[in-house]
């Protein structure tokens, strides 16, 4: 299991998660995440040799069905909540992507 959580770790993970954090949040998370992860590391001591992982509780059926055409979500509804969009052109607008 990995060691304590540094401020560099916080910045690396925040980058992966696309989260802008304040300096105070970085300090707080470095301290708290270290504590929470140290607590979570107790699972590492459990003998799980040969034990399969559970990704979902049993009960979900995920049944297959025929692939049939049906009305889709109306375009005006799909674009209705967008911060910036051009529904007629079927576009969500975002800030510049390439330099």
């Amino acid at each position: 299991m990995p060691g304590p959580f540094s401020r560099d770790d916080v910045e690396r993970v925040a980058q992966l998660a696309r989260l802008e954090l304040t300096a105070d949040e970085k300090d707080l998370f470095a301290r708290q995440l270290a504590g929470i992860l140290a607590y979570a590391e107790q699972v590492g001591a459990v003998d799980t040799a040969g034990v399969p992982p559970t990704s979902h509780a049993p009960g979900s059926a995920a049944p297959l069905r025929e692939d049939e055409t049906a009305p889709s979500f109306p375009r005006e509804d799909a674009f209705g909540g967008a911060p910036e969009a051009d529904p007629d052109a079927c576009l969500f607008k975002v800030p510049r992507v390439i330099g």
Binding site: M1, A14, I36, G44, V51, P58, A62
Partner: protein, 490 residues
Amino acid sequence: MGLPFTALAVRDAVAAGKVSAVEVCRAALDRIAASDPLVHAFLTVAPERALARAAALDANPQRANLPLAGVPIALKDNLCTRGLRTTAASRILDNYVPPYDAEVVERLEAAGAIVVGKTNCDEFAMGSSTENSAFGPTLNPWAADRTPGGSSGGSAAAVAARMVPLALGSDTGGSIRQPGAMCGVVGFKPSYGRVSRRGLIAFASSLDQIGPLATTVADAAIAMDVIGGHDPRDSTSSTLPPPACASALDGNLRGLRIGVPRGMLADGLDPDVESAFDAALEAARELGAEIIEVALPHSVHAIPVYYIVANAEASSNLARYDGVRYGVRAAGAEGIGQMYEKTRGRGFGLETKRRIMLGTYVLSAGYYDAYYLKAQQVRTLIRRDYDAAFERADLVAMPTSPTAAFRLGERTQDPLRMYLADVFTVGANLAGLPAVTVPCGFTRDRLPVGLQFTGRAMDDAVVLRAGDAYEQATSWSDQRPATPGFSSSR
């Protein structure tokens, strides 16, 4: 005076034409207006919408056949309602008006229920106290200096203060049952797959379930009969036919074996909670149940397993909030990368960010096997413990929460301590099992205590039957807090 309150009583009176849905709706709105300034259970109240729908119901000649005819209901604000703001108590969804209804909302309204508003919760259902709401906390109707529990604290408080007889919440690690217990009401988490989650704002998809909060188990059972069952638009919903819950309530526990995992109750249990729990077991024995001891040895790892699995899934589910298709976009960003980071950094609250960070970390390269895969394996061991217990017992009984409602601000600086509030509830989520909380007494400070029954997967009706039998034999559910605005009797 004389207006019915419980869902069952309202339904029967509206069906018989003794009272109109509009009268019932207006009374609920009056109670909300009187009590909610003190409780803050609601984020949105929708009086015009509710009264218009109640009037339409009164004009509907089929209303006598509707199982929830005229019943006022509150919905946790992570359930999508077409045309009605839905925030998940987050700034990032401050302006979100869903273009569709959650499946459960469609089913409730088709059954005659009247949605009166949307209730407060921890942001994205992440929390155990409702203090993580971006719109301020909900107060516990039993004690204004206490939290209502969480994350469905608004729904629990709205029912506890008798503003509405019925509310929906969602339960990922105890978020229906723990606030139900802390507010002295009934809360039911169905089996995984029993209720469609289409239109539930996702937190942790292998754990989330929608369920009812009510003042009686009978009301929760009626709600389950309406919302349960396969939905072709949610591929995780079970195709097994749902049991008839309301008709399964026969008022006795004869022939049921109830297992008690004494080993996991040893640490951190409040003595008042423990004595209420022991008295409840004695009452169950008198009702014909056989009490035996069972072991859930891997449950000591349930909290760390839960916080690894739930946060990993949350970090993935919450990636969708990117300021592009809906929700709030932060201004002043240069380029799309900065737009994502500012939108998410400013839109999410502290606990949500903390959990996204944890989840991203445990899924990141080099740590996946040590945390996420390992937690999923221990999850299997926790499930197997329950499987073994259910070979000997029909139900497992535990206190719902190790303590009664804690004080506002008491645990907000210590996330780990907050997480331990879920120690008796997360097991049912990890194993996909149905579980109910029913009121079973009070602490010496007169704060409610909850009794939890957990059952076999898909045995939802047996769990509700046991909760109802206990409730019928005791008077705890009749007690209500002295919140103003309540003017009708049960």
